[in-house]
Structure formats: structure tokens, C-alpha cells
Amino acid sequence: MRTLVKLEILRTLRNKRYAFFTVLYPALLYFFFININHSMPDGLDAKTYFMVSMATFGAVGAVLTGSAQRISLERKSGWTRQLRLTALPGRAYATAKICASAVTTLPSILVLFALGAAEGVQLDAGQWLGLVLVLWAGSFVFAALGVALGYAAEPNAVQPIVMIIYMVLSVLGGTWYPITGGLKSIARFDPVYLYNRLAVFVHPGASFDTAAAAGLAGFLAVFVAAAAFLYRRDTQQA
């Protein structure tokens, strides 16, 4: 099982698409966003805000495209069947995928934080550490969603599905601009919005958003249940 997890992590990091979409692309967008004039509401600091939103953008992208597409492809190719002919327990595959996802979100978070710090974002050590931890923990929600999507659709369908979900969640989630006013009532149901909200405690005068954390926990439960159901359906079919 350890070997499988290690190999899953290694192969994801080796993949060039991964490096582009999850590290390079959010990093470039970060420079773009902080250099155009955004009117930031509520006295938010653009450099801090986009540092977080681009880190989450990269992290969500890493797990959604990574695990969903790979699982879908590997179901089609029969790799998942081949694994069922080994002594590995049935859950090993999905567990390895989630572990690999969890590790692969860290580079996008750390790179964006390094860029933010270089651009002059100032937080105390506890805030930096807390931020890394909450964003890393939050990425598990999307890792579970990625696994569910990977079991839900065929390879040629999964790519557009993932892209649409990723974009819609990002638009309503405050990835490209802070969510204000009436939009908030919709955004409350968007896990990416809740994910970004986990970072509000670093803004002056704000505290940790426990409601967002509770909401995310709810999404996590739903996605895990969906992934488990779809996984079971898949093993009965194949």
C-alpha cells in the first residue's frame, strides 16, 4: 500500500500538465490580478486576497483534474481491474489517489505563498502556518469530489465535466474577484467559496469562519458518500 501511494505521488508530480495547471498557471494569474486595478471591498488587501484565491484555485485544479481524469482513464484502461487482482484491499486505490491528491496540493499552496510573501504580504508566523494548514485540510474536500467524478463518468466526458464544475465553482467562489452583496447568498452553497472563506482569519479584524468550515465538512461528507457509492457500483460492473 505504501508503495502504491508513493508511486501515485511520484507519477503525478512527473506529469507536465500537472505542473502547468496547478503551479505555473495560478502563479501567472496571481501577477495578473495584483497588477490590474481591483476595487477591493471591505478594506481587503488584493495581494493577500489573491494569494489565497490562487492557491485554492491551483489546489482545486490539482485534485480535480488529477484524480478525476486519471481514475476515469484507469477504469477504462483496466488498471483498476488489474489492481483488483492483487492482494491490495479494494479501498487501496481510492485511498492512494486521495493521499496523492493531498500531497500534490501542497506545491500550489506553498508556491503562491512564497510569491505573496515576495510581493509584500505580511503575516505573522502563526498566521502563515495556520493558513497552510487550513488550505491543505480544505483540499481534501475536493480530492473526494475528484474521486467521485472519476468514478461517475467516462474519460471523454469527464474532462468537460470537470472543467465546467471547476469554472462555475471558481466564478461563484471568489477566485477571480471578491464576492459581495446578493451573490453571497448563492456563493454560500459553493464549496470553493467556503474554501476561500477559511482564510478570512488573516484579514485585520476578522476571525475564523466556523460556518464555512462546517459547510465544507458537510460537502466532504456528501462527496465521500458519493465516491463510495460510485466506487461500489463500478466494482460490480467491471
Partner: protein, 315 residues
């Protein structure tokens, strides 16, 4: 009597309206090398899926080493190479083989597995950059990564060229010589003929023949006898030919310039020829040829097809 390696007891499996496997009863014994033959759609892959516990039978029971297929796989007693078994991408061949060894309870050393499967020279290659035949050998490596007692191979030589195929069967024979039970499905009948101790023929999900390659040939009417009857040598009634001993099939052409061609398939060619002379025939241009397994296979499956057709017509 040693315990069976695998047993199917009254196993049926349908996909929608299609009966892929229909009342299959079958026992595999330790040390046998068994070929599974059948036309496309005969239920070969479905039977292997059931054997390996990848699917559950609708009826009946499949056991491996007396227990469930899953338990046998978890104990590392079964290695399998499936047609539909994909490989992990973005890793090297050596990494994949090491993974297979790491998850096996009684694994061989990865270096040994690479050597056994004849893939040492491509060990550093990325899995996604392999040719079809190379991929097949990597799949084979995964099937022999540990000390398995049963090895299951579904059309293992598909995509291999002739020399690679020979190397592959040499590797396979070494596995069998170490006392392992080998079950393989194949399209290449000469492989079954030269390698298997036992041949199973599936047709529409039913087992229609089970025996040695020689048995199967005998059942199909293993020899073909052909000759000409000339009117000048005297008239022979068709009934007299049909009455010959050991006859499996008879084909009699119409008379052209007083010559009729006779083609006979028979399990016992000697008896047919002796009977011919005893009946007072004078066969000209007599030829007795042996039927290959391929023809035997076609004969058996055609006969099964005809029986099913007549059953359907009767309904």
C-alpha cells in the same frame, strides 16, 4: 486425490438478455496446463472474470483452492493477465514491477521477475511508451511477480510477433514446469495444441468439449479420407458408404464423367479404409490426412451451432 485448484459448479452469468456463461461445470487440477478455446463471444473472458471474482455469478458457485476467489487472490495464490488489464501510466516498467512485487505476500525479487518475463532491456522505459507486444510482456510480468499456484492468461500473445510469442511460451512452460497450474484462453489453436495438456471448448457459454488435444481431434473425427469412385469400377450405393464403421461425416459429389469424389471424416481411419475394401469398393487416389486442432475446433463448434439451431427451430 488432490484438492482442485478451481471449480465451477452450475455457474451462469447473464448481461441483460445475453447469457454469457450457461450452466458451467468445470474443475481444474493442480499442475495442469489448460487451454480455453471458443469463438468470439463464447464466454471465455466472462468465465475468467468469474474465476477471478471480478464478477459474481447469477447462479452457481466458483471456488479457488476451496475458498472464494478473492481470498485466493489476497493470499497471493493466483496471478492473472487479462486482456482488459490496463497498466499504470507515467511510471517505468521497473517501478511497476516493483509495485507488483511489493503488494504480493510471496513475491519474487523484481530483478528476477523482469528476467522471467524477458523485459530487462525495457525496464527503464515509461509504460506509456511501449509497443503492444511489450505491454503484453509487462502484463505477464505482473502475473508472475509472486509465487502463484495458478496463473490465468487471457489471450496472452495478442499483439506479439512470432519470435516474441515463442519466447513468451518458453517462459510460460518454465512456469508450468515448476508445478504451477496454468489456464489460458487463446485464439491461436496451434498454441493450445502444442502447449496444453487439456483443452476446453466453450460455445455460447457452454462447455462443449473437455479433453486432451488428441481427444478433441478424435471427437471431431480426427482424420480426413478422400478418394474417387469411378463408374467403370462398378456401382457403389451411397448407403454402403454410410454404413462404414467409425464414420463422422460423409460428403459425396455428383457424378461427373462417371467419377464421384468422396470425402469422409472419421475417428478411426483404419477401420474406414478396411471397410471400404471389404465392401468391394475400389477407391482411387486414396488420401488419409490428419485434422489439425483448428479444424477439429471448427467442426465441434459448427456441430454445436447446428444443434442449437435445430433446438430453436423446434421451439
Amino acid at each position: 486425490m488432490t484438492a482442485p485448484v478451481a471449480a465451477f459448479r452450475g455457474v451462469s452469468k447473464s448481461y441483460g438478455k445475453v447469457r454469457a456463461v450457461n450452466g458451467l461445470d468445470l474443475t481444474l487440477h493442480p499442475g495442469e496446463t489448460v487451454a480455453l478455446l471458443g469463438p468470439n463471444g463464447a464466454g471465455k473472458s466472462s468465465s475468467l472474470d468469474l474465476l477471478l471474482g471480478l464478477r459474481e455469478p447469477d447462479q452457481g458457485e466458483v471456488t479457488l483452492f476451496g475458498g472464494s476467489p478473492r481470498a485466493a487472490i489476497q493470499a497471493g495464490r493466483v496471478g492473472a493477465m487479462l486482456q482488459s488489464g490496463g497498466l499504470m501510466t507515467d511510471v517505468t516498467v521497473a517501478e511497476l514491477v516493483r509495485l507488483a512485487c511489493a503488494v504480493h505476500p510471496r513475491a519474487h525479487r523484481p530483478e528476477q521477475v523482469l528476467k522471467d518475463a524477458g523485459i530487462e532491456e525495457i525496464a527503464g522505459r515509461r509504460v506509456d511508451k511501449l509497443s503492444g507486444g511489450q505491454e503484453q510482456r509487462v502484463r505477464f510480468a505482473l502475473a508472475v511477480a509472486g509465487d502463484h499456484e495458478l496463473i490465468v492468461l487471457d489471450e496472452p500473445t495478442t499483439g506479439m510477433d512470432v519470435s516474441v510469442r515463442q519466447q513468451f511460451w518458453a517462459a510460460m512452460r518454465r512456469q508450468a514446469e515448476q508445478g504451477r497450474t496454468v489456464l489460458f484462453a487463446t485464439h491461436y489453436l496451434e498454441e493450445a495444441d502444442s502447449i496444453a495438456d487439456r483443452v476446453l471448448v466453450l460455445h455460447r457459454g457452454r462447455l462443449i468439449a473437455d479433453g486432451s488435444s488428441a481427444d478433441i481431434k478424435a471427437r471431431a473425427g480426427a482424420r480426413r479420407i478422400s478418394f474417387e469412385l469411378h463408374a467403370a469400377d462398378g456401382h457403389v450405393e451411397e448407403g454402403a458408404l454410410r454404413a462404414l464403421p467409425g464414420l463422422a461425416a460423409l460428403e459425396l459429389s455428383g457424378s461427373a464423367h462417371g467419377v464421384r469424389t468422396v470425402r469422409i471424416r472419421a475417428a478411426d481411419a483404419d477401420a474406414v479404409v478396411a471397410g471400404l475394401y471389404r465392401a468391394g469398393c475400389y477407391p482411387r487416389g486414396l488420401e488419409v490426412t490428419s485434422l489439425g486442432l483448428e479444424q477439429a475446433f471448427l467442426t465441434i463448434t459448427e456441430a454445436a451451432e447446428a444443434t442449437e439451431q435445430s433446438l430453436e427451430d423446434a421451439r
